[in-house]
């Protein structure tokens, strides 16, 4: 065990936003977001969730392996959204390295099958 620092802290971004998407807090471990920014405008992925998050009965959502172009960079993140009483928490896990390795492996398998 390393001392002093945990391993995942730099891979996880916690964003707190109201139901209209307005961000109040973000620890910015992956991508800088200012208080007052709108999470639904961050990326079309979030925009398409707006209706199901606000109107649905679900309060907990997990989305594995979402490709997100944020600024100039492409990330593969797992995204968790938890609806609380009067706000929502959006957790981004930056698993880009893991999913890129996985993509290369699957590329070999499906690429071979596709040719045959």
């Amino acid at each position: 065990m390393l001392s002093g620092e945990t391993i995942y802290i730099n891979k996880m971004q916690e964003i707190i936003a109201s139901f209209d998407g307005t961000v109040s807090i973000s620890n910015n471990a992956i991508y800088p977001i200012e208080p007052g920014d709108n999470i639904f405008q961050l990326h079309p992925f979030f925009q398409s969730l707006e209706l199901s998050i606000l109107n649905g009965n679900n309060i907990y959502f997990t989305f594995p392996c979402i490709n997100l172009l944020l600024g100039e960079r492409n990330y593969y993140c797992d995204v968790i959204i938890k609806k609380e009483k009067d706000f929502m928490a959006v957790l981004l896990f930056n698993y880009s390295d893991h999913y890129r390795e996985m993509q290369e492996k699957i590329q070999k398998i499906k690429g071979e099958k596709f040719k045959s």
């Binding site: 992925f45 199901s52 989305f63 392996c65 979402i66 490709n67 596709f114």
Partner: protein, 161 residues
């Protein structure tokens, strides 16, 4: 404000889901096959019946059956595009089951069935090959030439309203 509609592309690997989105959004095509893992989400603004509509298109990784797709990806979908490859039988032989699955689990959601790679039809191998009832309202598209791609997305957009 524009209505926002979530569209999901389904189908086996290599049928051309990513290529159709790329043709529709970037007017581009590549012969290279770059396998999708997880999901890529893109958007496009269109005008339907004089009203602006924002299509948010989920291009998901290929699966042999919809049941294997991660269920959270399908949440809140307002239109499905089910793509098969006209040149590969395994990609369309279970169409009936696949359509039945959508009917059962997403019965209010419009579905467009799409036979892609129509540029590979020949004088002998034509659309007539797909004359069974399950292909009745099938679109035939080519992401390579762009044939019917715009019409497909516009028709589905209309049906989501």
């Amino acid at each position: 404000m524009a209505a926002v509609k979530k569209i999901v592309l389904l189908g086996h690997f290599g049928v051309g889901k990513t290529s159709l989105v790329r043709r529709y959004i970037d007017s581009a095509f590549s012969e290279d096959y770059l396998v999708t893992v997880g999901v890529h989400v893109k958007k496009k603004e269109v005008i339907v019946n004089d009203e602006p509509v924002t299509l948010i298109i989920w291009d998901i990784e290929g699966n042999n059956s919809i049941e294997k797709a991660r269920s959270s990806y399908l949440l809140g979908t307002q239109g499905f595009i089910y793509v098969f490859d006209i040149t590969r039988q395994e990609t369309y032989e279970s169409i009936e089951e696949e359509m039945a699955f959508l009917q059962e689990h997403h019965d209010q959601v419009p579905v467009c069935l799409v036979g892609n790679k129509s540029d590979l039809f020949t004088d002998e191998f034509t659309k007539e090959f797909f004359k069974d009832p399950e292909f009745e309202s099938c679109y035939f598209t080519s992401a390579k030439t762009g044939d019917n791609v715009e019409a497909l997305f516009l028709d589905l957009a209309k049906r989501t309203l």
